[in-house]
Every structure is written in structure tokens, then in C-alpha cells.
Amino acid sequence: MIKVFNLTKKYGNYEVLKGISFEIEKGTIYGLLGRNGAGKTTTMNILTGLIDYNRGEIYINGKMLDKNKRKPLEEIGYLPESPTFYTYMTGSEYLLFISKIRGIPYKKAKKEIDKLLDLVKLKEAANKKIQTYSRGMKQKLGLAVALLDNPEIIFLDEPTSALDPESRYDIFNQILEMKKNGKTILLSTHILSDAERVCDYIGILDKGKIIFSGKIKELKQKYALPIYDIVFENLPHNIKEKLNNVKWIADIKIKNDTVSIYINDIELAKKNILSELSKLDIPVISLQQRENTLEDIFIRLVKQNEYI
């Protein structure tokens, strides 16, 4: 459905995207993950035709996205990170304005707008001016705009950032509903639990490069390492230095009272963890083994990929 090859974007001498490539299959949700400033919004803006790119090829539904031709973009709906509207309009007036731009006949547009406002739960606020809307309501209206004229592909740039839990829940349900209806979705986020919740595939974008692209399952299979979370009676000093030479330990992280030991050989770890801990000579309150979360993997991939 969407194919991106060797996409490069420069701002002056600064290369934001350094030849990224990825593919999105029809009817799936692809999550583009990355820290703030990783290049997610730039990628989105290029794919929606808002900004140009320097090199690379983009295919949308088999049609090449030419820098000067916007035909393939007609099948796209885009929700930017902070949607801005003409706030003196009401929600339904804004949707009608956009449908005029699309050339949708008035009666058809009215019907579709009613349906969309119902879908995003904004029917009651349809005739209120947008300037009275909360951030969550604006995001929902933005989603309705993106869905107007039934596009096959939806791009969502950080759709849930800065939303309250209830609005996030609503937006996610709507994203899953869109997937059910066969839409292809590209979602960018830096909230990894969001991606884990809805995405079929993910791409990790870091410093302008895609460092992983594939299914979440594959990512976990490939990069997941078991972790031992240990709570000591007193937090040991220099634990990192003391366990530095243990071969089966990949990394050690300390958060509050918990020491997380990342394991690269679980069999060796099982045999030796207790003896290594006893060498520290500090009472252990609890010892628990757990799987990597997507967040753990992401942090390792972008910060400590020497362990991959």
C-alpha cells in the first residue's frame, strides 16, 4: 500500500532523514516510533505532500508520489500533532468547508459529516464554535477531518499526546475501528505503550534512520532479553562496577529501589544469579524475572544497540 525507499530530507546541512525505507501493508497499522526530534513529523509531512524531500521514492497505492503531482494524496487523510482550525467556525461548519474543498456535493457532505461527528462523539458539540473545544475535542474533530471523503490511508501524527485518559481511550477505539473498516494507518508516536496497544508493525526511527522495521512480535523475539528486578534492603554501592565482568549480564539499570539486571544468557543466569547476589552481601527483599517491555527494547535499541 505504501512503500518508501531511501527517503532523504535535509534542512540546510542538517540531514533529518538519512535514507529511510519501510513498507506498510494494506489494512494494517504501522507505528513509527522515535524520540522527539527523531524525524517522525518530517516523515509524515513528506508523505502527505506538505514538504518536499531531497532523495528517495515514495509509492502510495502503486502510484509514485511525484514532488509536483498531488494525485496520490487524494487517498490520504492526515491528522497532524496539533491540529489547527478556523476557530470562529463550528465543528460542522469546518467539516462542510473541507468537504467543499474536496468538491463533495452539499447533501452528500451533510450526511457524511453527521456520520463522522457521531463516530468521533462530537455530535452534541457540532454547532459550538471550535474556540470553545477542549484539546481532546479538537483532536477528535481533526480525526473527523482526516476521515472525511473516506480515504483509504490515514496518517496520524502523535494522535494521543497530551490527551486525558478518557480521550486517549476514545481515540484508540476509533483507530481500531478504522482498521476494522480496512483502512491502512501510519501512526507516529513516542508513547510506546500506545504503539504496543494498536500497531501490527512498527518502525523505530532514530537519528534519521530506521533501526528496526517489522512486527512487534518479531522485535520482541529478536531483541527481548529477560530481566531480573531485584529489591535490596539497602541499595548496594557500585553495583554496576561489581557486576561489570559477569558475562551473562548485558546491562544494569537502577530505578528508585529496584535494580534491573538485563540478561543475555538466561541459562547461565538461572544457575548463577543467586551466587552473584550473595557475593554483594546485602539482604535481598525480592527477586523477580520479567520480559522486556517495548519501552525496554526501544531504549536499548536507540541508546545501547551494542548489545543487539
Binding site: 506538505l50 491540529p83 470562529y88 461548519e93 467543499k100 468538491g103
Partner: protein
């Protein structure tokens, strides 16, 4: 054409809801009514404040009453128009309001044309009505030095063309600097500079401000060169505005 129609309607709604029509009405029509009345009352007001026969010193006739309105259009009204319209294009660029329309297929050239035409037509209608109202009051209140109504309408047309130029210049500068206040200040500066340049006979007919001088003198002699020059500037500035708009909007 869909974008043009949608944006024309949007501009009308925006002007209505954000009281731009009201501001333009006050800036253009109110002076048309107040000017002749104040001029009529001025000698009476002064008589009560200063001793002596002031009526013999202030000789106001129909022509000078209309000229006084032209002077206001060229000073206070210009300020009101600039303050009212200065954010029209720059706000759209700086606050990223165009992302949704553009991602849904809006044509940027049509947006610029819709904006320019909407304000040009609106201001022209107000100016023509302003002149008609002003002329009516001038003829009613004063008797000497009558000027033909046809000449007043020509003056209204010349001032309208000047405002057409001012709007396009404002849009052009907004498309470069993305800041409405800066664009408005620059337009004001250029207005003052061209008011000085128009005194140089050799270039006067190519200076847009000459339209105001011609309107003020109620003459139709040699007006075509200035009109065509200004229209040419308008076309060039419109094309440059569209080009800048395309390059700067999402950069």
C-alpha cells in the same frame, strides 16, 4: 475552483464573525457621513471658542468637502484597513491553519486569489458607497463649487484601485515575513515614500500614489498610464505572493 469558492465563503464568514466588515464600515463609511457634517459645524464650534469672524477664514464648499474625505481615506482609513487585514494571510502561514485544507486537496493559488478578491471587492463597495454618501451630504450641506457626480465616481474608482494595490502589497509582504504587523508597517512606509515620490514629475504617473492625487483633483487627464502601471504591479505582486505562499507555508 472548489478551493476558490470554499475560501471566498470562508473569508466572508471570517470577516463577519471577526467584525472585519464592521471595522471597514466604520473606517470607510463613517468618515463619509461625519466629514461633511463636522466641516459644516466647524465654524460654529470655533465661533463659540474663539472671538472674531472665522466663517470668512474657513471657506468650505462641495469640492473641498469631498477632498477632505479623500484625505481621510488616504490617512486614517488606510490605517484601519491595514490593522484589520494585516493578519489575514500571515496568520494562516504562521499558525499552520492550512495543513488540513492543503492535505485535503486545497489549491494554494486559489486561496490567495480568493483572499485578495474578497477584500478588494469589499473595500471597493464600501469606498463607492462612501463617496456616494459623502457626495450626498456635501451637496446637501454646501452649495458652492459643485463637482459632477461622474467625477466623484471616477475618484472612487481610482481610490478603489489604490486600495486593491495596497491589499496585494500587504499580502505579498505577509507571504515573505509571515508577520502581519511587520507587513502592515512596511506598507505604511511605502505609502509615505510614494507620497513623496509622486512629487517628481517624471516618475509621478508610474507611482501608485498618483491615483490618490488624480482622485483628489477630479481630473480624468492622463489617468490611464497610472491605472495600467498599478494593475501591472498588482499582477506581478499577486504572482509573487502565490509563489512565496507555496514556498513558505509549510517550510
Amino acid at each position: 475552483m472548489n478551493t476558490f469558492k470554499a475560501y471566498l465563503k470562508k473569508e466572508m464568514l471570517e470577516s463577519w464573525r471577526q467584525y472585519k466588515y464592521l471595522l471597514l464600515f466604520i473606517g470607510i463609511i463613517l468618515f463619509a457621513i461625519l466629514d461633511p457634517i463636522l466641516l459644516k459645524l466647524l465654524p460654529e464650534i470655533l465661533k463659540s471658542k474663539i472671538n472674531g469672524d472665522l466663517a470668512s477664514l474657513i471657506q468650505i464648499d462641495i469640492k473641498s468637502a469631498v477632498q477632505n474625505y479623500i484625505k481621510d481615506l488616504n490617512q486614517v482609513t488606510l490605517l484601519i484597513v491595514l490593522l484589520t487585514l494585516m493578519g489575514s494571510l500571515s496568520d494562516e502561514i504562521s499558525s499552520q491553519k492550512l495543513i488540513f485544507p492543503y492535505s485535503k486537496g486545497a489549491n494554494l493559488s486559489s486561496i490567495v486569489i480568493a483572499k485578495i478578491l474578497h477584500y478588494a471587492v469589499t473595500i471597493s463597495i464600501f469606498i463607492i458607497f462612501g463617496f456616494i454618501i459623502n457626495y450626498y451630504y456635501a451637496v446637501t450641506l454646501f452649495s458652492e463649487n459643485i463637482i459632477a457626480f461622474k467625477n466623484v465616481l471616477i475618484s472612487a474608482a481610482l481610490i478603489s484601485i489604490y486600495y486593491f494595490f495596497v491589499i496585494i502589497l500587504l499580502m505579498f509582504l505577509s507571504s515573505i515575513f509571515k508577520k502581519g504587523v511587520l507587513a502592515a508597517l512596511l506598507v505604511l512606509m511605502l505609502h509615505i515614500i510614494s507620497a513623496l515620490l509622486v512629487n517628481i514629475d517624471k516618475i509621478a504617473k508610474f507611482i501608485p500614489y498618483n491615483l490618490i492625487s488624480l482622485a483628489n483633483s477630479f481630473t480624468t487627464e492622463n489617468i490611464l498610464t497610472t491605472i495600467f502601471s498599478v494593475l501591472l504591479y498588482c499582477i506581478i505582486l499577486s504572482l509573487l505572493t502565490i509563489k512565496n505562499y507555496k514556498n513558505n507555508t509549510f517550510a
